[in-house]
């Protein structure tokens, strides 16, 4: 019975370990922090190096949910009110990449500048 439980636990944890391992496999990675407040991104412009995998940490400080979306970064992800999420972005070439909040596009807008 004990052994069975251990196997079950192993099966449940395996994907997490595998993903964790995969994440650490990137030699270098840029991390960018963003927050959403009053349906605006803070800061509204962030920088990251070119040709490097990028991790964006988004915290939603509003009580309302938001969908982080970007055509050029090819991301659409919901962040619950008061929640947070981690976005992984493929290595990018230099340029300005626009992102926005799909639920409040008139105010929630920002740029990821790759240089």
């Amino acid at each position: 019975m004990k052994a069975m439980q251990r196997v079950c636990l192993g099966v449940l944890l395996a994907p997490g370990v595998w993903f964790g391992f995969q994440a650490s496999a990137f030699a270098q990675e840029a991390t960018v922090n963003l927050s959403i407040k009053d349906h605006r991104f803070q800061p509204s412009e962030v920088r990251a190096p070119a040709n490097t995998p990028i991790t964006i940490l988004v915290r939603n400080l509003d009580p309302t949910p938001e969908e982080f979306e970007s055509k050029t970064l090819r991301v659409e992800k919901i962040i619950a009110g008061g929640g947070s999420t981690t976005l992984r972005i493929r290595p990018l070439g230099a340029g300005r990449y626009r992102f926005f909040g799909d639920y409040h596009e008139d105010t929630a807008e920002g740029y990821l500048v790759i240089e």
Binding site: P15, I79, G81, Y103
Partner: protein, 276 residues
């Protein structure tokens, strides 16, 4: 109010079109309306649940829960659409010939239409959870919510209108050709959904190869525009797809067409091929 209407409408166009196509594809099949209604209802309940547990879903599976969830729902829809088409290739002609008879509910055919009900549920679930979150956001924000809420509801109603218009547009096609048309629509629909599915797998870094952008036609026809949205659903148009998405799109297209051909040749070899 118009803003909320547009946001909700944009989200529900896809589900609206899919429901319309499925309604036309199952036209006249006894009990099909019931199955589709059940599909919509299941989708709505699922969407509400997905909205309530949005944050838990986001954090699940090392932060890839949302991507896996979306990819899974889309993959199920693609498989069901493919299966329906293959089934129709084998039995569709008999169904079309018996159209005049009350209810072409060949007992074996039921399962295929249940597959389409699952497709409807999947479409409503995926788009619906975003709408539910948006409407919830309006309700908790407290700023002139009723006006916005009314806008959101009007957007939903417009989405339902898309279903109705699609259905009535399609059923003007003579029954003899209707199945050919809906089957073709379903192939492209499935290929587009498969491309979306792999897009989510790439977003979650589960698929990492061929992640570069294949082309950028956003200046000519942005897929956020009304026409772009409709084409996005109907043929899977995306203005900035990844190379992998393009590849998966064509693989799905070819795979379903080949499987359908194979299934229909299997049918004609079974002695009684009915004359046209």
């Amino acid at each position: 109010m118009i803003g909320a209407l547009l946001i909700v409408f944009r989200e529900v166009i896809e589900a609206g079109l899919i429901v319309g196509i499925v309604l036309a594809a199952t036209r006249g099949v006894r009990g099909s309306r019931l199955w589709i209604s059940a599909g919509i209802a299941a989708g709505v309940v699922g969407a509400a649940l997905a909205a309530v547990f949005a944050q838990a879903l986001t954090e699940a599976v090392a932060g890839r829960g949302q991507e896996l969830f979306n990819a899974g729902v889309l993959a199920i829809a693609v498989l069901m659409l493919a299966w329906h088409n293959i089934w129709m290739a084998r039995h569709g002609r008999e169904l079309a010939m018996n159209l005049a008879e009350a209810g072409r509910s060949a007992a074996a055919g039921k399962t295929s239409f249940v597959a389409l009900a699952v497709v409807v549920a999947a479409a409503v679930l995926r788009e619906g959870s975003e709408v539910a979150l948006f409407l919830y956001g309006i309700l908790v924000s407290g700023e002139t919510p009723w006006n916005l809420f009314a806008g959101g509801m009007s957007g939903l109603a417009l989405g339902a209108l898309v279903s109705v218009a699609t259905f009535y547009g399609l059923v003007t096609i003579p029954p003899r050709h209707l199945f050919a048309v809906t089957s073709t629509l379903i192939v492209f629909l499935a290929a587009g959904l498969a491309a979306q599915c792999v897009g989510f797998l790439q977003q979650g870094f589960i698929v990492t190869s061929l992640s570069q952008t294949a082309w950028d036609s956003s200046a000519i026809l942005p897929d956020g525009s009304l026409i772009g949205r409709v084409l996005h659903t109907l043929i899977g148009y995306t203005d900035q797809p990844s190379q992998m998405q393009v590849l998966v799109y064509f693989i799905t297209l070819v795979a379903i067409v080949l499987a359908t051909k194979l299934a229909s040749s299997h049918r004609t070899s079974q002695a009684h091929a009915p004359a046209e």
